[in-house]
């Protein structure tokens, strides 16, 4: 016997009512009348939490009860798949597992999905977009981080000449351009922007510490550090191909370490967007 209330859906009147469960059928007692229905005729609402259940009869009228347990029993054998979502929601273990799964999916998306999508987008963009992004990127950097290089015109022309000689041998369809800058914030550094723009930052060594204050910008550094290792390998190969001693590369990196060391400012590996320089170069003791 399930206790509840009966609504005729013609008015807002509510009357006490009982529902008696038989084998595959129910008997409704409401408004002094007894009516029989088979289970197939009834529309029984899904269980959610502990909210009252509603049983709707063919004429649209409703029986409402807070006795969830009795309704579940009534349904039990007749509809074994009824309320599978509630069975997930009822269980704390499943809730905790679902939470773990949500966190895992988010992590996997950030770790693998996003780079994958970024790769697709990059491959789909036409070279003109590349140029626009590169140009805008440089403008933004010029505005926020860079000053004009302090090198004299003669030295700059020399470097430009060297750069074009070097890139002339790379026949990969890019139009490479060298931009020389100075920066208090970034210190000595080199950046590659889309559309073959290479920015070499000469600057004094004083402000690698300032980079630490820009750490939030560098949160997505894992991938860029892997790229850097790849770039190192490429540089060494290029030097070998052009019969220039590989030691030159190590020397430059080691000079940067020394400079930074004097200011006592080598960054911890994860904050630096560059692999720890000692992992990259074989420094002689003198530097």
């Amino acid at each position: 016997m399930i206790q509840g209330r009966y609504f005729d859906t013609h008015s807002s009147a509510a009357g006490e009512a009982q529902l008696e469960a038989g084998a595959g059928s129910v008997c409704l007692q409401a408004n002094g009348q007894r009516q029989h229905f088979s289970l197939q005729q009834l529309e029984i609402s899904d269980r959610i939490g502990n909210i009252p259940r509603r049983i709707r009869f063919p004429d649209g009228s409703e029986f409402e009860t807070g006795d969830n347990h009795a309704v579940d029993q009534l349904l039990g054998a007749a509809a074994p798949r009824h309320g599978w979502v509630h069975r997930l929601e009822r269980n704390w273990g499943i809730a905790v597992a679902a939470l773990g799964a949500v966190v895992a999916v988010c992590f996997l998306f950030l770790r693998f999905g996003l780079p994958l999508v970024a790769g697709w987008v990059a491959a789909a963009l036409p070279p003109s977009t590349d140029r626009v992004i590169g140009q805008h990127g440089l403008q933004i950097l010029d505005h926020g981080f860079f000053k004009a290089s302090k090198l004299d015109a003669q030295r700059q022309a020399n470097l430009q000449n060297l750069f074009s000689r070097m890139t002339a041998t790379l026949k990969d369809g890019h139009d490479y351009r060298l931009e020389l800058r100075d920066s208090r914030v970034l210190g000595p550094n080199a950046l590659a922007l889309p559309a073959g723009i290479a920015v070499v930052v000469l600057g004094d060594m004083s402000s690698i510490t300032a980079l630490a204050s820009a750490a939030p910008v560098l949160l997505q550094t894992r991938n860029s550090r892997e790229l850097e290792a790849e770039a190192d390998a490429f540089s060494r190969q290029w030097l070998r191909d052009n019969h220039i001693p590989e030691q030159r590369f190590d020397d430059i990196l080691c000079r940067m370490v020394d400079n930074a060391g004097r200011k006592g400012a080598e960054l911890p590996p994860y904050l630096a967007s560059h692999p720890a320089i000692h992992d990259r170069a074989h420094c002689s003791s003198g530097g």
Binding site: G49, V85, G144
Partner: protein, 357 residues
Amino acid sequence: MEEQVATARELPLEFRATGAEYFRIWIVNLLLTIVTVGIYSAWAKVRRLRYFYGSTLLDGTSFEYHGKPIPILKGRLIAVGAYLVFVLGGRISPVVSLLLLPAVLLGVPWIIMMARLFQTRMSSWRGLRFNFHGDYKGALGAYIGWTLLAMVTLLILWPLALWKQNSYLLGNGAFGTERFGFHATRGQFYKFCLVGLALLLAAGCVAAILMGILFSAHPELRQLNPNAPQIEAAMATLRIVGTFYLFGGPLILLAVAWFQARLMDVSIGGLTLGPHRLFARLRTWPLFWIYLSNLLAMFCTLGLFYPWAKVRLLRYRLSNIGIIANGNLDQFVADSHIQAGAVGEGMHDVFDIDFGF
């Protein structure tokens, strides 16, 4: 009169949802939505609303939400399509956006009307559906006409626009065949809008004074080197703005809590349904405390507190709303049921227009 007072019963809403129960519904919804790439979100919405409606009781009977997932899903797809047309159209040419703007201005009132219609018709109590009789002209006037007027008059007419909008949403409602009456006055709206504005200004002033005291004690906080590159200037600005919010944030939140409590008290308290009267008795300090502690708890738990936060806020709001029943609540009669399309409702969700409650 004496007789009526004797038979009047005060029936507040009772809210039985618990954070622990809703957490499990929420997390299962979230996971299934992610796994189905968003398709389950329509089912999730139905489950969430059925849970909250079913947990809200008036005079011992719960409310019921009748929305069905498939129409909601269709509505969402149409809404996403419309949104994409607008965004991509703007990409192709600004002229397209310009042409679409009047369409949006004329479309928004329609969406609001449809959403409200769907929302009310999909709700029932004691087997009787709610209904909405607002028409398009009314929505256009209240949401576009009066909003433009408020802007042109530098917000002097804004309380009146707010009154119009509440009057449209609430005053056009019906339970069965019985229409709600909206009796809140324009004067009441002007009064709490003005006091709200004064409170907001006062909150801003107090925050500025507190910040001034802090900065004179710690001059290094406001250091701003004119020769510094932009990134450093930006950091310094961020520090100053952050400090302002640290002091001003809670004060502004307090003003918002006051405003929200008064808005609900006046607009819901001004409603009648047949011989019955509705009431709302929200108080500022408990509401403020719920807002503030919810924000802090969500911040500390990376958003995991959300289900509890939602239930706490709903419980406070709902249990301070109710009806003063003059006689019994049995005499309402059903209106002939009309099917409501779910497009309006879906649109409302995607564009996230938040109105009233």
